[in-house]
């Protein structure tokens, strides 16, 4: 395995403090495992703020993770061993493997060796090229600074690289401002492959380019991949680009990978509800299917929704996806005050209590039950209501206990959705009180 990450987590501290004086943390990447084989293009797709770029930087060691490991060039059996050790809680043996293969434990020459074998191409060619250096200097910089070649050989290498990315050789003496966007991105790409890396991170390599130029750059990337057998992580929000380029696809949502597998599965027959909506929303498809228009926006990463972080927008979410009493109460309140205003008295009050239950005052049970029955399909949060009881407080609605989904195997892919959880006793929903 060229690159393998295990439980990679990156939290960025924010100003101010949250409840109990805990520092506020922006959970940009939250427990990500991805793997890249040699010569394989692995796509990472997601909306802005889903942590794609942070992941790309973590994988190269440009950012230090809060926890988790990135292994570089680790034999498959060693990786398997490591996973077994972690599963069996044999942390000492796991630490030995971490020491040898983790990029965060490399220093000095061995770190330089990794730098030589990895590289990154950034999104914006306008800001990633130093305006005061000419193209020759830009391309030779990584060659000489990693000690890949001596400077006189580096110039020769630079001309070869220019040929390879399809730029005329006299461009070597031009400055970035003299180049167009597509040409700049080619220079950035030439710099990226200057030291013949084994692994390349492409962070939105074409989103600053026009469609006509994008097509050329993508074709170039494919050519480079086949000629040098470079493993790549392609980070983009453009699903069509991923579908054109990648072998394996990871879909990210709110710092987590929610669906991963071969391209033909994940893109052409998505199953994770977010991914289904995402693919259906891609404009300009040949076959126009029904579009699933999601409600709402990407979640706040400082306090991501509990349980499955997609549940508030999910069109098929159900009882154990992570509904909290506050969410259920606000939905109920909205329904009671607007759509079903004629069924309820104006004094009806919806609130939550200390047990984490929803309490409705000044209403009778049959009204509530009929409302729940009518709205069950449309308002997903109501699915979280397990049972109801009457007390002197009013009508008390008991909620199901929510849990966080893990990655479940589903044929060739991994999906983080309860709908695809193996059917055993462990993962079936539990009412709130049987847990404590």
């Amino acid at each position: 395995m060229l690159i393998a990450t295990r439980q990679l987590v990156k939290h960025f501290p924010l100003k101010g403090t949250g409840a109990f004086g805990n520092p506020l943390m922006l959970k940009a990447v939250d427990g990500v495992n991805i793997q890249v084989r040699e010569g394989e293009i692995v796509g990472v797709v997601g909306e802005s703020g889903s942590g794609k770029t942070t992941l790309g930087r973590l994988v190269l060691g440009l950012l230090k993770p809060t926890s988790g490991q990135v292994f570089f060039d680790i034999p498959d059996d060693v990786l398997q061993e490591y996973d077994d050790y972690v599963a069996n809680n044999d942390l000492k043996k796991a630490a030995d493997i971490e020491k040898e293969y983790s990029i965060f434990n490399k220093r000095g020459n061995s770190q330089k060796e990794i730098r030589k074998k990895t590289n990154i191409v950034f999104q914006d060619p306008y800001s990633s090229l130093d305006p005061r250096l000419n193209v020759l200097d830009i391309i030779t910089e990584p060659i000489t600074s990693t000690g890949y070649l001596r400077s006189n050989e580096a110039v020769k290498r630079c001309f070869e690289l220019l040929d390879e990315v399809g730029l005329p050789r006299d461009f070597a003496y031009r400055y970035p401002h003299e180049l167009s966007g597509g040409q700049k991105q080619r220079v950035a790409l030439a710099r990226g492959i200057a030291t013949l890396p084994k692994f390349l991170v492409l962070d939105e390599p074409t989103s600053a380019l026009d469609v006509s130029v994008q097509a050329q750059v993508l074709a170039l990337l494919r050519r480079i991949r086949t000629s040098h057998n470079i493993g790549m992580i392609l980070i983009t929000h453009n699903i069509a680009v991923i579908s054109y380029m990648a072998d394996q696809v990871n879909v990210m949502y709110a710092g987590k990978i929610v669906e991963t597998g071969p391209k033909k599965d994940v893109i052409l027959s998505p199953i994770y509800p977010y991914n289904v909506a995402l693919i259906s929303a891609v404009p300009g498809k040949m076959v126009k299917g029904t579009k699933i228009i999601l409600k709402g926006d990407t979640p706040n990463l400082v306090e991501p929704p509990p349980g499955c972080s997609f549940h508030p927008r999910c069109p098929v979410s159900f009882n154990m996806c992570g509904w909290t009493a506050a969410e259920v109460a606000s939905d109920l309140k909205y329904l009671i005050e607007n759509k079903y205003a004629d069924m309820f008295k104006a004094e009806t009050v919806v609130s939550t209590n200390a047990n984490g239950n929803v309490v409705i005052k000044n209403a009778n049970m049959s009204q509530i039950l009929s409302l729940l029955n009518l709205e069950k399909e449309k308002t997903r949060s109501l699915a979280a209501i397990d049972r109801s009881s009457e007390s002197e407080e009013g009508i008390e609605l008991w909620l199901w206990l929510h849990r966080t989904p893990e990655m479940y195997q589903y044929s060739d892919r991994l999906v983080s959705c309860f709908l695809y959880a193996p059917r055993d006793g462990k993962s079936s929903p539990q009412p709130v009180n049987s847990a404590d």
Partner: protein, 446 residues
Amino acid sequence: MDYTLKVSDLKVQFYTRRGIYKALNGVDLSLMQGEIFGVAGESGCGKTTMGLTIIGLLPVNAAVTEGKVIFLDERDLIAPLRKGNTEETDKFNLRQREAVTKQVNKELADVRGSRISMVFQDPMTSLNPVLQVGFQIAETVITHQPRSLAERKLARSRATQDDTQAIVELLKEGADEQAISRYAESKGLRGIETQVLNVWRRNDLGETKKEKIILSLHSEKLGSFERIVLESVEKGKGKPGWMKIPGISRAARGVLLREGYTKAVELLSMLEVPNPDKVVRMYPHELSGGMRQRIVIAIALANNPDLVILDEPTSALDVTVQAQILELTRHLKHRFNTSFIFISHDLSVLSEVCDRIGIMYAGRIVEIAPTDVIFNNPIHPYTQMLMKAIPRIEGYEIQGVGGTVPDMRNVPRGCAFNPRCPDATEECRIKKPEMVEVEEGHFVAC
């Protein structure tokens, strides 16, 4: 079919230190009423310049050298901009241009924002960060149509219980827009019909709740000052003299502003913004990107314009949010009889919403056709190559368009695409191709 806008042979150039950029080289375009027209092209092909020219927002160093923009009532919007320019003018006189800009601003004051409005790419830069969004929506209405606000409120105070009862009866019988407004007109209640219909069309409320709201739209109590202000705004064209006295003018504005907020809530609920009555009191930074873009669209639609220019409205948004906004645009088209010009570099976005699409290259529209025709049967070689360059989910080989966008300082002679065109002939290098109609509604310049 009625035309909303006719652009003919529009030529615009920019004077810069590095020479004269010919941004538009003869754009021809006619826009039907209630249609979404898409404009696509590479960056630098003049898409945005075209939008800005129509609404007269060109910077001082730009000059319209030729062409007309005829809007609805035979009015040429850019007449003052054309003044004193020919293609040969190689220097620009800053003083003169500034005067022209001022004159344009003055002449177009009654068109911009009320009859033609524009939505820009980045909602954060087009909203004022220190004002509540409700205020910003209300402001556009107060500036352009204060009368409509006064009418709305006065109608509510004049209506009797019987009137609202009658309107609800009408609605229940399935009366259309015209019937309601006829009724309102006959009772002297102009301004109530939009309020009623906006409530009636909401999906998030139950029937009875809607009825309740509509039934409550009567006998609103007005303060004596409020009444004086509203009645004088309703009658007069401009502000009466007493309303310009500092303290009073502020208070009078406050009266209109309150009604403006109510209108803002209505607009936002129409744009499917959750909790509109809370959102109007928020500031732009509290809202997400998609929500901000809805606010900008609400501002654009606040005065029921005849034409809305959308300049890359979804390029800064995520795919799922983009889908929401596109859905909304389609929905709005059916709702109002408004024409849209939808500018985007992304053809696949255009294919989702547009009725017709125009492909721009080097400051000219080279092909115009209905959406499905342009995708299935593109004729211009540039369009054909562009179609091949779009990566799609279905995954087939894509091909870039060779060469680069031409330098707009000296656009190639003849057909501007000839240096990149695989089938260019000698003729293409000399003669500028005319727009020809190859089949009904399908024009091409090749």
